[in-house]
């Protein structure tokens, strides 16, 4: 689980670090400037990553979240 939660670091790397290297207009990707296309890609990937984290997170299988102690 800890490994899967570490996936949440990827959007930060993609958006903050990736932009340093992909700060270019050309080549256009699907007609879009490279940096814009890269960021839109990361929006989709972030959603997918959060879905994986959600499905594997045991906290979401607890029927009553309010009964769960802080951890």
């Amino acid at each position: 689980m800890a490994m899967i939660k570490a996936l949440a670091a990827l959007p930060f790397l993609g958006i903050l670090v990736g932009s340093v290297f992909l700060n270019r207009v050309t080549p256009l990707v699907l007609g879009l400037p490279l940096l814009l296309a890269w960021l839109l890609l990361w929006i989709v990937l972030t959603s997918a990553i959060m879905a994986v984290i959600y499905v594997t997170d045991p906290a979401n299988r607890v029927p009553s979240p309010r009964a769960e102690p802080d951890a």
Binding site: F12, L36, V44, T46, P65
Partner: protein, 487 residues
């Protein structure tokens, strides 16, 4: 009166009438509506959430910034995305604590966690100070819409007064109860208008997205990426980070955490919400389409880009429809901001300062009379300021982000921070923002000798660092928080 202005005036009147109906208690409150929304169908929920992202900021500010600044606008895509990742872990514990302690506002949370009434008042002050630029940008947007749709007949200063009067009337009439139907109409209209404009304009004016971006790249090489200096990669990263941390620190966003039914909702939202950011790309397209077609707008007038290109392309009646969508995007969030600021003043500043018995009724009455006061202050700054919509929101973000360090530490079981430390840290952070905004200081002007990557950092980061240093040092020398007993 132009057809455009007539459509916009009718829309504003319709919203006021719906608000009047809501005040008779027939419609649900916005809070009830949001919670009830979880029982609605997927399309309805999508409209609701997409509508929350679309305020005047994205509609006029986002397109204007794309027009005037190009690549740096992409920061708006980045920060929302990262804020939702953070929300997966940040919001559930805040929600659980608020449930246990029956909290209803953001200052309540800080006052309870740090056992300090003074800190609650300070947090309320920070919230109000940050909400003012947010409200100013809604008024500015309204002014632009009314002035543009009148085709020059109404000067922009008069248009700002009209816009402010409409929002104030809306809030005074409907109170905290917004009309569910105003919000539904707004969400559907703005989504349709934004997607239509974002697809139609590039195809109609240039023949396609690729053709449009190639033409812009030829005319202004590098405009669609981040520049080497100024709003560079360093600016982009620091601004994305700063605004992502501040995303849920706004008093109205923080308050909305308390309305959820279970903490699972936040974790589910973290999956779906990033996708709504995709819709912002359509708004950027409108701004980019305007770059070569309505050149010459500079400074704060870049916010006019969407309307200028629309007027040039469409008949007045359709400009009216776009304007009506714009008015609603300013009206609904604008009324929430105004109500939040007025309630903070009455409930979280006036009430704690009068320890001798203040009734709920007198606080409610005071909140109602604070609404026009808040509106006047915002009108004053709207007419005075020469800032773009994006610059205004970034200033608000710099303020609210100062609450983030104290919030994160409050989630730890053994919080090493004292209330005095947190108080001092926030004061130093806010003072830094205020001083640098008033004197137009940037990191580059403070430390001209630094390398470019450091010179371009968002000045809000500097305030945040000073904040953290202060709260660490003051907490170290003052007593510990009573509730944070060591193990």
């Amino acid at each position: 009166m132009s057809a455009a202005l007539a459509i916009i005036a009718l829309t504003a009147l319709g919203a006021l009438l719906l608000g009047l109906r809501a005040s008779r208690g027939r419609d649900m409150s916005l809070e009830q509506w949001t919670v009830g929304g979880r029982g609605f169908g997927a399309v309805f929920v999508f409209l609701l959430m997409a509508g929350e992202i679309y305020t005047t900021f994205t509609f006029l500010g986002g397109s204007g910034y794309a027009y005037g600044h190009g690549g740096p606008t992409y920061y708006i895509l980045g920060y929302g995305c990262l804020a939702y990742v953070i929300s997966y872990w940040l919001l559930p514990p805040i929600w659980r604590y608020a449930q246990q302690h029956r909290l209803i506002s953001q200052p309540d949370y800080f006052a309870a966690k740090y056992d300090s009434r003074a800190l609650g008042v300070l947090v309320a002050v920070v919230g109000i100070v940050a909400l003012i630029p947010y409200l100013v940008l809604q008024f500015k947007g309204l002014g632009i819409i009314v002035a543009t749709a009148s085709y020059g007949a109404i000067p922009s200063a008069v248009a700002v007064w009209i816009g402010a009067a409409v929002v104030t009337a809306y809030v005074m009439v409907s109170g905290v109860r917004g009309s569910a139907w105003t919000a539904v109409v707004k969400d559907a209209l703005i989504l349709a208008v934004a997607v239509f404009l974002g697809v139609y304009l590039p195809i109609h004016l240039y023949g396609g997205f690729g053709a449009m971006f190639s033409a812009i790249q030829d005319a202004k090489p590098g405009f669609l990426a981040l520049p080497a200096k100024g709003e560079s990669v360093a600016w982009f990263d620091s601004t994305v980070l700063l605004t992502a941390l501040g995303f849920y620190m706004w008093p109205h966003s923080f308050g909305s955490i308390f309305t959820a039914r279970t903490d699972k909702v936040f974790r589910q939202n973290a999956i779906v919400m990033p996708l709504y950011q995709l819709i912002l790309a359509f708004v950027f397209m409108v701004g980019f389409a305007a770059v070569l077609k309505v050149p010459g707008l500079t400074g704060p007038s870049i916010d006019l880009a969407l309307f200028r290109v629309s007027i040039q392309t469409f008949d007045p009646w359709f400009v009216g429809v776009i304007g009506a969508a714009g008015v609603l995007t300013a009206l609904v969030p604008g009324s929430m901001i105004m109500m939040t600021a007025a309630t903070l003043l009455a409930n979280n500043i006036y009430r704690p300062l009068h320890s001798g018995g203040v009734t709920d009724q007198s606080v409610t009455r005071l909140a109602r009379w604070m609404v026009p006061v808040v509106a006047l202050v915002a009108v004053f700054f709207t007419l005075r300021g020469g800032q773009t919509i994006v610059a205004l929101l970034l200033m608000g973000y710099s303020f609210v982000t100062q609450l983030f360090p104290a919030l994160v530490m409050s989630l730890r079981r053994h919080n090493p921070l004292s209330s005095a430390g947190v108080f001092a840290g926030i004061v130093v952070g806010i003072a830094t923002i205020a001083a640098t905004s008033l004197t137009h200081t940037t990191v580059a002007s403070l430390f001209p000798g630094l390398p470019e990557a450091l010179r371009d950092l968002n000045i809000g980061i500097v305030a945040l660092v000073l904040n953290v240093v202060t709260l660490t040092v003051v907490s170290g020398i003052s007593r510990r928080v009573p509730s944070a007993r060591s193990a």
